[in-house]
Symmetry: C2
Subunit: 449 residues, 2 copies
């Protein structure tokens, strides 16, 4: 069979970008070419690699290198384009042109997909090409494939994931060392876990792009990055982490996609990214460091979890190679992958309609009647309190006790809408007895409401 496969016309591959992932993909294609040929049913042939800097030695036949990505992707002997350059404006026209010409595309570019999947999918549909992007979400972990194929007969209700390694590393470190955010971020930068400009990671933009992709596939609808509500981890303090521990919880940056019923009836999709409390018993709570995991809840399947390395050259290359094999196999067998499916065309629920639980910390005057007053405010806005804890605020050593004396209130609510909670918090901030609403963190992963 291997001999027969080797005699099939090769599937021509163009690789755009030769960073960590691109280098690994090319190494694999070379080192495991026999296995890949057998699995595809025909050999792969690397036609060229588009790079920015032609002068750098990449341990590759220089005849394969080109700075002219446009000419490479339109070559007649290129059947599959693997895009690993990142960014939006440069790859977008390249991939569109490739797809229009019937060349299949494998990409790890979440930012591009979160915004332009529709136009890319349309181009692919028009020419019968495939568009694959397993590597765009959660690195090596198969998530797109399972959602799109394995669960195609089920009704997905919810997808909750830890999909950003940098923020998960920072939160895990804050928890284990007790250090605060700024210090931990700096250390993460020194160790290579955070980029020089960490904004995309720590402010949740990266996770939001992934949430948009996951929500679109899980619910057969179109969600873009702009539809995703987003909060980052930069305001999480070591006090928040400690307070979470007191409640047998941990804090994780979650990407949450779920189907919700609108107040006026009808279904909508909610996609959001924020740091949230998770009970230590939740399967995502023990996902630490640079690991990623995605929990999927489906009507028939129940709760599933997919866990593994969410970033890095080799893990991401694994996902790219899996897609490359599938795309190449389709070229050999003239098959097609399932295309984009957006038949459900669900509206995106405004954040105010979303409901969850909340952990609210307040600094209040330590005098009689204040607790009742605070509780009444929650009640007025229809937010039911599940638990409340009052602790005296002690002045740090060497500092005089505060005057008037203050206390900290920690309130855990039952499920309430974001709107009701926001109204409550605004009203509390106006109360004379409330010095400050120190923090509001959502609580996820508790079935009992």
């Amino acid at each position: 069979m291997s001999d027969a496969a080797a005699s099939v016309r090769p599937v021509g591959v163009a690789v755009l970008g030769m960073g960590t992932v691109g280098t690994e993909v090319i190494r694999y294609m070379t080192e495991h070419s026999d296995e890949l040929t057998a699995r595809i049913g025909g050999p792969l042939a690397l036609r060229g690699v588009a790079v920015r800097d032609l002068s750098r030695d990449r341990g590759l036949d220089t005849a394969l290198l080109t700075a002219d990505a446009e000419s490479l992707v339109v070559r007649d002997d290129v059947d599959v384009v693997v895009e690993l350059m990142g960014g939006i404006d440069v790859p977008r026209p390249l991939l569109l042109e490739a797809l229009r010409r019937g060349k299949s595309v494998v990409t790890a570019n979440k930012a591009l997909l979160a915004e332009y999947t529709d136009e890319l999918a349309e181009a692919a549909d028009g020419s019968g090409a495939d568009l694959y992007f397993e590597a765009a979400v959660a690195g090596a972990i198969p998530v797109i494939g399972p959602l799109r194929r394995s669960l195609a007969g089920d009704q997905i209700e919810r997808v909750v994931g830890i999909v950003n390694g940098t923020t998960n590393y920072i939160l895990s470190e804050m928890e284990s060392t007790g250090a605060d955010y700024a210090e931990t971020l700096a250390e993460a930068g020194r160790l290579g876990y955070a980029e020089a400009d960490p904004t995309a990671d720590v402010e949740g933009y990266d996770a939001a792009a992934k949430a948009a992709i996951l929500a679109s596939i899980a619910f057969h609808t179109r969600v873009t990055a702009a539809d995703v509500y987003r909060e980052g981890i930069s305001r999480i303090t070591s006090d928040d982490i400690e307070s979470a521990r007191d409640m047998d919880c941990t804090i994780k940056l979650l990407a949450i996609c779920e189907k919700v019923t609108r107040p006026e009836g009808g279904q909508a999709v909610s996609a959001r990214v924020y740091p949230a409390l998770l009970p230590l018993t939740h399967p995502l709570a023990s996902v630490n460091g640079a690991y990623n995991a995605v929990v999927v809840e489906a009507e028939a399947a129940g709760r599933l979890m997919f866990y593994g390395q969410g970033a890095g050259g080799a893990p991401t290359a694994s996902a790219v190679l899996g897609d490359l094999v599938a795309a190449a196999r389709n070229k050999v067998l003239r098959g097609r992958a399932p295309g984009e499916s957006t038949y459900a065309a669900l509206p995106v629920a405004p954040m105010g309609e979303v409901s969850t639980r909340y952990h609210v910390r307040l600094r209040v005057a330590d005098r009689q009647g204040v607790l009742a007053q605070v509780a009444a405010e929650f009640s007025t806005h229809g937010v039911s309190i599940a638990q409340v804890r009052q602790t005296e605020v002690e002045a740090p050593e060497g500092v005089e006790a505060t005057e008037p004396p203050t206390a900290e209130l920690t309130v855990l609510t039952h499920r309430a809408s974001e709107r009701a909670l926001a109204d409550t918090v605004a009203a509390l901030a106006d109360q004379e007895a409330v010095t400050a609403v120190t923090s509001v963190i959502r609580l996820e992963g508790v079935d009992n409401e």
Copy 2:
């Protein structure tokens, strides 16, 4: 799009068997027919359901029911056959006939697949039909799809799974209650977690069939149930569980598939099922009750884990429906799933060549020199000891102390071959100072050897 899809010629479906899973599959097909039509690109049409007892009311149009499965599967208007009857001799010719006629098959029948995948795949290849069986391993958890598709570009090194819910329930219960095996099995039977004849589960036959399927797909080779080394959990005692706890370990029935290098060089595949110690920090250690999980270690991807419900009507139906959508979509689009891939054609490593670590408990005479004597025996056979613990054996209350006094030795070895370990145990049993080798349990999941 939904309207266009609805006007496509329906994909005819025959369901064989209407137990828990079959009932759920049919209910879903009915309740979610619009969604399924949109996802497939054409409607499904249930042509008939083969059952043994026609007289039972199944809440289904009786015209759809038939006792004649043979006539049903060959009908011209049947495109996909969903087999959920179980057993080997009855479904085997039915599925072969269906596949030979170009009808795709979706089956959850692990016992049949573990023995006859080759002939089923050959029939499918001959006619261009698809053979899908995601539901045969780990219920709702996508495992076959990820191994076959998502990881198609990677090199899988190892697959370790908890793939039998009954035994996992029993071991979890023994651990949490301290009860012994017989008592826990009886309770599992009363609660419906164990069948009236639990042999297939507790003796590891079910897990062995799944290991054969996983090894075949992961390593692109052919492994049948008979190739799988198998030990069940019936000899695990509450002492074993307690002893595991003392070492910060738990005991799980594992299905292990790995690529091994043979002593004379060359690669082979090892597939085996046995109860093993796992460190509590291992991701599989916290998979409790009726849950299943599969860990995959691949060269590029690193370690991945897939977790979810491994059995039950609805979860298994989810996997069946995912396959049904894929098979039906291929009928509509004239595509084909990747077929069986056995190009690697690896030999199966004899168990004696497999190496792992061992936890050996011995009852020995409590006198000077015995420990040295026991240690020497391990050393003679090339088995290196990592840890040893000696405890006095106290006579139970009301019973006279044993004469001569005995002690218990717990030995943890470094990695050694099964052959060397077996030779060591045989030699120890012959030593005058050794009263009994109480138990030998393998230790898995420890990277440090």
